[in-house]
Amino acid sequence: MAKPVVEKKYSFLDSIYLFEILKGMVLTMRHFMFNFFASFRPGPHTIPTTWQYPEDRREISPIFRGEHMLMLDEQGRELCVGCGMCAKICPAKCITVEMAKVKEGEESKYAGKTHCKNFNIDLLRCIFCGFCEETCPKSAIELGQGYELSRFTKEECQLGKERLLKNYHWAKKNNKLKPKKVEAEQPKDKKE
Amino acid sequence: MEIKGVAEKLLAGYIVNISERCNDIIIEVDSRNILKCLTILKNNENIAFDFLVDVVGVDNSQYLLKKDKAKKGEEPAVEAPKAPALPRYEVVYLLLSLQHNKRLIVKARVSEDNMTIDTVTSLWKAANWPEREVYDMYGIKFNGHPDMRRLLMWDEFKDYPLRKDYPLEGKGEKRALIYE
């Protein structure tokens, strides 16, 4: 197991330390000068690689996998039928769905014949893999663009149905729904 | 395939079963002869399986039993767990020949009565941790291993978690903190 002995062969310039260190210092100085002048630019986003978070935010992908939302169709009806496919596929077992039949007189609220009475997502367990979105036969659940997921209490991390619908309304208001779904299945949305 | 033929010839008398699937040749030998077989496979110039990729343990107690269950699923009859015909545990050696760029899977069955098998750390040092892991997860002891301790689980842990009868959620073990 004797370790191989490695011979060190340095060229003269390498062996006197200072030459390469000076070269490196020139390089760091170039970066410094560039950023030094950049930091005097107006606005929060001065140095190109850093985002000054609360003031300026980076553009995130339209298909980002963030906080979930329950979708409505263009008439404002809930799409979810409460089939529980998402709960079944979820690797983290974070979704609980309770199905109920749509009562008389409530047909205008729901798109299907059944709906979910309760829908709960445990954010503490969710791993944001996006399988629920992929498996949903009605495209009723989507991972939205919300990425500020810190909460003060455990209870707040349980996303109930209200919260999920609120997320949808927020996304719709800010025009942050996923583009491909809008084009493929709901061409009427374009008119809005 | 050449490897299959050569290996069959070399290990004549040791082989219990040989099969081929997805370009993988799987040779099954008796657990008592495992060290001999692997030594032959490593040192023979024609095949020279000189690289140990991994050592895997498998608990076969429920292998292919589930199908029967599914069929019986409708009938609520309490089924007695069928004792598998073969020994319960399996140690799988994944070998690679760098010279010939060929792979080989060698298996040995270990029964519940005698949970020991010879170590191959004398052939490949690489077998050190994988064998410890198999011991950790299944309780199969490797004779002659230089350092037979638990690897991933802590030392005071009693059970063997990858056995099929160990529940997924665990049995509620807690690690007692011992300060020096």
Binding site: - | V53, Y63, L98
Partner: protein, 372 residues
């Protein structure tokens, strides 16, 4: 190691929470002054029972777990696992999916090497190259994010293909990223490679002979640094790697410097591969299939299979035993750094504490992959 009396030495506990430990690793070192006489790596602090969990998951549900093994290059783990299941099922994925997988894998490889080289610099006291590299890694992550919506734990690909086509702006992004990548690698090279301090710290440190390396089961950059030319992309070519022109960099001494140089060169090779794969991709029709025909619920035939891919750390293999149901009977992961890390006591024996840290970083041991 057996004939020295460990009680004579200072016992230094390094980790599991120590600034130089990559994740929760722990090394107990017995030192004579600064020289490490013997050390005992203790693992299992990040053991999450992935293999046990996998037995209760369906084949698809296991993909997110592979994300969390090597979190620096999750895509490589995803693809290696999917390939193993595809091999078990006997499915050949369409060409377009192969090319997308190749492009994404190589991008992830670059990202992984950037982290490894950067962290090696940080551990040896050179902070600046880390930032030059990591800034470009962000751009790579941006490509991932635009591809399927996640940056780090990608859950990339599905069994039988990939889920999305490359995003429309991939072309523009890659054109912008490529010169920046070259520049950042070049700057790191300028700051470190010929610096005498860096050379003194790395050349000859924890050198390893090729025989030992093979005996210990080394794979990947650490094996190539020892002078063994083995790369699964060349030797057991999968996907379209046989059609790409790229070199496999090989070192000589197997020391920290060689591992560092190999990683630096592999980044260049990966850029070459991406270029070729993307050229090939552009010639395909836009409506070419992304998924092979696989059933919705995956039930591979009874049997067992071992399949491995070349990930940034080395050979990542999956041994899958199927009993014909929708859940794997047994999944065994063969993490590359598991095999490399077990040789750690031999690698660092007789070196100094500072070299222990350098050696550990150059091996790129990732706790998530190590403990599973």
């Amino acid at each position: 190691m057996n004939n020295i009396n460990l009680d004579e030495y200072i016992k230094v506990n390094i980790g599991p929470s120590h600034p130089a430990m990559h994740g929760t690793l722990r090394v107990i070192a017995w030192t004579d002054g600064e020289t490490v006489m013997h050390c005992d790596p203790e693992i299992g602090y990040l053991h999450r029972g992935v293999e046990k969990l996998g037995e209760s998951f369906t084949y698809h549900q296991f993909i997110p777990l592979t994300d969390r093994m090597n979190y620096c290059s999750a895509i490589n783990s995803n693809v290696a696992y999917e390939a193993a299941v595809e091999k078990l099922m006997g499915v050949e994925i369409p060409l377009k999916a192969q090319l997308i997988r190749t492009i994404m894998c190589e991008l992830a490889r670059i990202a992984d090497h950037q982290v490894c080289v950067g962290i090696l610099g940080v551990d040896l006291g050179a902070f600046t190259p880390f930032f030059y590299l990591i800034i470009q890694r962000e751009e790579i992550y941006e490509i991932f994010e635009w591809y399927n919506g996640a940056r780090l734990t990608n859950t990339f690909g599905r069994i039988g293909g990939v889920e999305n086509d490359l995003p429309a702006d991939f072309d523009a992004r890659w054109k912008e990223l490529k010169p920046n990548l070259f520049k950042s690698i070049d700057e790191t090279d300028k700051l470190l490679t010929h610096n005498r301090i860096w050379m003194d710290r790395t050349i000859g440190v924890s050198a390893f002979s090729p025989e030992d390396a093979l005996n210990w089961g080394f794979t990947g950059p650490c094996l190539r640094a020892c002078g063994v030319k083995r790369d699964l992309r060349k030797d057991e070519p999968y996907y379209q790697y046989a059609n790409f022109k790229f070199d496999v960099p090989v070192g000589k001494n197997g020391d920290v410097f060689d591992r560092y140089m190999i990683r630096m060169q592999e980044m260049h090779e990966s850029i070459k591969i991406i270029d070729q794969a993307y050229e090939m991709y552009k010639q395909l029709p836009p409506d070419a299939p992304l998924m092979a025909k696989v059933p919705k619920i995956i039930k591979p035939p009874v049997g067992e299979v071992y399949s491995s891919h070349e990930t940034p750390n080395g050979e990542l293999g999956f041994y899958i035993k199927s009993d014909g149901t929708d859940k794997p009977y047994r999944i065994k992961v063969r993490p590359p750094c598991y095999m490399i890390y077990q040789a750690f006591p031999e690698l660092v024996q007789g070196e100094m504490i500072a070299d222990l840290v350098a050696c550990l970083s150059s091996l790129n041991v990732i706790a998530g992959e190590l403990d599973r």
